[in-house]
Symmetry: C2
Subunit: 144 residues, 2 copies
Amino acid sequence: MTTHIILGSDHGGYDLKESLKEGLSQNSEITLEDMGTFSTESVDYPDIADTVAQTVLAKNTVGILCCGTGIGISIRANRYKGIRAAVIFNEFTAEMAKKHNNANILCLGGRTTPAENALEYVKIWLKHDFEGDRHLRRVEKLDV
Amino acid sequence: MTTHIILGSDHGGYDLKESLKEGLSQNSEITLEDMGTFSTESVDYPDIADTVAQTVLAKNTVGILCCGTGIGISIRANRYKGIRAAVIFNEFTAEMAKKHNNANILCLGGRTTPAENALEYVKIWLKHDFEGDRHLRRVEKLDV
């Protein structure tokens, strides 16, 4: 089954987004859609978060957002009901973001996470399944 | 100037919350208000996020939320306009969360961050100032 991933970043996450795009494009089961930014020129992360969050919801798919730390862009994405944007920073949080939180957007920091690590975290998130059960009850409470 | 900090956690963040409460209580410039949970019995992190986010907004102060990874509880807290809940995981993100994002809630993971590290991150966040300027424009866009 193909996974369609919406990508977005500000200038601080641009290089990381480009690296992830290159790495993920090697996987024939992944299709990518890049919503920008398309250079290292300064932009405002909430604008990118809006575009990616709205597209993830409209297409019922998943996304990856990068800024300097992943924090700012996660705050704006989580303003949207239905979005579960997870700031992840190691293998464990990549796994838990899917198994417990059913995250549909991963947030990564260009100034905090080397590209090769980030790619590994994305792969971990993709390969795990949401556990449901008590975690489903909690995820449902995110959008009450 | 005294800083009033609203604390909250689920069962996965309970021990970390208790350790932070103990550590922060040594500082005479900090007052603490613990909104629970008060044991390691299983609870739903969105409920705690609601209580702390609403109290932070009502009292115009700051808070700390702990769950297993900090992720789930951050998603719910960020549903509230005016809340900037930052998942932090090292000294750098603690500093950026204040300087660039003006975070008013820190989110920490009981399963990801040792208590002594978490206390250090909270102190870093407290001692830095928001930089304003272009970061103010971005923070304002979080609540448009």
